[in-house]
Amino acid sequence: MGADTSPKIVIVDESPIRAAILQEGLREAGYTDVVHISEMQSLLARIYALDPDIVVIDLENPSRDSLEQMFQVSRAVRRPIAMFVDQSDAASTQAAVDAGVSAYIVDGLKKERIKPILDLCVSRFNAFAKLQDELDRTKNALEERKVIDRAKGILMKLKGLTEEEAYVLMRSTAMREKKKIGEIAQSILTASELLK
């Protein structure tokens, strides 16, 4: 690899969305030689064939130990070393582990060239986690809306209330019992199931 060419980066990640987010970030930053491997069955053979300068892997990936072995004994590939080997930069190591990402770097690659890549990986992994979190929250909110609507329907039918009155009843009960309206709605659904 020459000093000006883009290092060859391999992303090992079973999450296609996260890998895409990372890949896009790297491309935007000018790293054009990026390959994503999602298939763990042929992981080692693919890495041998690609001979990358940097391997990025997510920490939820059980294949990380297989990578370590490959880098320990391999005579076929240049020996990449783990990013955590550099003890001088404890903060960025901590940041990477917190973000759930690890990287292996071929010996000889200059630190100032690696740092921006690792920082980018960390920030993209964190961005993905945030996105995932928001998605989960939206899903939960939608789920709760459905439960509340069904509970409203039951109250309207059983007690002859309008939609507005049913909602007010649930809300006031929730406030009185110091519970969330979703929880009250869920108990109405459960009770009506039991009483069927």
Binding site: L44, E60, D65, E68, Q69, M70, Q72, F84, Q94, V97
Partner: protein, 384 residues
Amino acid sequence: MTSQLHVGFIPLVDAAALIVAVDKGFTAAEGLDVTLVREVSWSNIRDKLNIGLFDAAHLLAPVAIASSLGIGHVKVPIAAPINLGINGNAITVSPALHAAIMAEIDGDRFDPMATARALARVVASRRKSGADPLTFAMTFPFSTHNYQLRFWMAAGGVDPDEDVRLVVLPPPFMAETLASGQIDAFCVGAPWNAIAVDRGVGHILHFVADILVRAAEKVLAVRQSWAERHPETVAALVRATQRGADFVEQNRAETARVLAQPEWIGVDAEVIRRSLDGRLKISPDGTIRECGRYLLIGREGAERPEPVQAAWLYAQMVRWGQTAVSPDALKTAMGVFRPDLYDAALGRGRATQSSLGPFAAFTGPVFDPADLAGYLRSFAIARR
């Protein structure tokens, strides 16, 4: 005051003492608020212990030594105040390789020298016929599994780096990878050998107790600097773990039930029970083999970390070229195992290595750390 601790573990039967200690409230009784964190790789455990995200961990004994020496990774001195397991691994082979070895065997099938020589003949005839080399899987470069496999096959004349392929696989993938034909054999801890046999995809060829009488398998690992700063917490953790180890031996049915829960190991309690009892189905046809030393957790002094065990593991690292031999490194390796911390916490005289007989494998000289060079010279196949 309650200490909050994060402790990493891999779902394996030899994490039992630790899991039981938390599940049964032994850690809480010591004033420890322990959160056990299940991990998917030894690399994660090592890194999180190294940087302080974990206060302690269920760790491969050789990783504790490699970390302390800075071999293959960052140098972070580790202390092991208590063993979590002695032995417990087994070598499982595919039905095809099993048949090939049995066709070549000259001697008892539980004699590792006989199977290793038979393996050498299988390897030679495969080479002659132009077949691919056999592939053996194990769990980590710095693992007892790696050293046990190498020790065994090299005794029969098979060079583990030249004559076969050695790969690393996560334990839960072993059985299916064997079934798919991508590997021919593996060495892994409980319960994964039993699971391969149950699925009809493998035969257990050896318990590792056939190879070496006592191999330190997993330790409770803490950073040495942390142990120095928190001696009372270490002692409390050792006491709770010891209670866990005692519980495991006295209540195997309950232990198996606890470990079977999805948040711990998440496999059938009956399979776990077999590993605890050392009574394993070794063939899909239902053949049972019993061994009192299959896995030692809370008996025969297994819990007390003996420096000679660390020295043996260090010798294997040297034999296979993972590190160069040095008297200082040997001393550092032995210093990872801390019987002093164990004794300080428990204040009772448990069995020591010397009372358990010589430290010997099925072949080669009795291991003596004082003559490491002589020991290493005795092996024909080595990378040193």
